[in-house]
Symmetry: C2
Subunit: 189 residues, 2 copies
């Protein structure tokens, strides 16, 4: 599985933009057969975290938010970017969940990592199952965030998946692995 014989060599790399929300480089690469690939654009983002977040009453904590690139308000799971201040991914996801929803969770289980697109994006989303959630404070949102928290049953969540209403692929992945983890550990049929 870890065959590197197809990997490219990076001959040169130049940053076109290097801002917090917009870091793009233009690479020139060489394939193993000597072919030159130029330009190849790479989008650098910080690591992302998200969680299928379940309350003590066995409800999923969802967030409704406007997403500007598709121009729609959609239902998602909570999550966000890893900050420099976060000691690890678990701390990052706990912070994001608390900020976006006001909920704290007693247990975090790592579900693996997933890529939004390995040909364009450098970053990964680290997926968690968070359980034992209770609301302990108000939301604490960033300037450009406006997030409505919604609690739904796991049956309702499964119906949203079934109906293709979870349109964010990274979130769908987290939900699929989270529900599998619950089932595999006897916490759900």
């Amino acid at each position: 599985m870890d065959d590197n014989s197809m990997n490219w060599k990076t001959l040169s790399s130049e940053y076109l933009y290097r801002e917090t929300w917009f870091t793009v480089r233009k690479d020139v690469c060489e394939a193993p057969d000597g072919k030159i690939i130029s330009p190849y654009y790479v989008y650098e983002f910080p690591a992302w975290v998200s969680a299928l977040a379940i309350t003590e009453q066995n409800q999923a904590v969802m967030v409704r938010q406007y997403r500007h690139a598709i121009g729609q308000t959609i239902i998602e799971i909570p999550g966000g970017c890893v900050d420099d201040t976060d000691k690890n991914f678990e701390e990052a996801v706990a912070r994001e969940l608390l900020e976006e929803t006001g909920y704290a969770f007693s247990c975090y289980e790592y579900l693996g990592k997933i890529s939004p697109n390995p040909s364009t994006n450098t970053n990964w989303m680290h997926m968690y199952l968070a359980t034992g959630g209770t609301r302990i404070q108000e939301q604490s949102l960033d300037h450009n965030e406006d997030i409505v928290v919604e609690l739904i049953s796991l049956e309702e969540l499964e119906a949203l998946v079934e109906q293709n209403k979870i349109v964010q692929a990274l979130h769908l992945s987290t939900i699929v692995y989270g529900l599998k983890k619950l089932a595999g550990t006897g916490r759900r049929r």
Copy 2:
């Protein structure tokens, strides 16, 4: 579900780059409460298509390929970008499958659309289940493509999903919906 009251208004929009593989705009937006969000970067991409592609012998047609943004060679499902010459998404996915794998398929079933990231990317991936595949020609690859075709059983595919080896979230989504469709229509347990 289609509540637009949280949607932003776009006050201005400026293209920073407008190349085939790199189109980025910088928007200035206004939230419903009057807050100004500036700058907001939006990445424009063409529509993508992919398929869980099954041969007449009930094997999944997978592709192994180097993905430069993560610097790894990984296993994926076939797919790609919709071209101007494609009359519709089904034609696009059939063309991509033929080019990347040399296989043609007797039946295409639409599984819905999914977003790589609705806050950054304008585009959607349209997901298909392709069945009845037979190899009819050699691969016909683009200049920078080097793709190894691998046939695996559906049990092996499920194991890859279980082991978090399908790292592309859009592809994982397509596989999950494709396997559900096979099961839901009695073509698989």
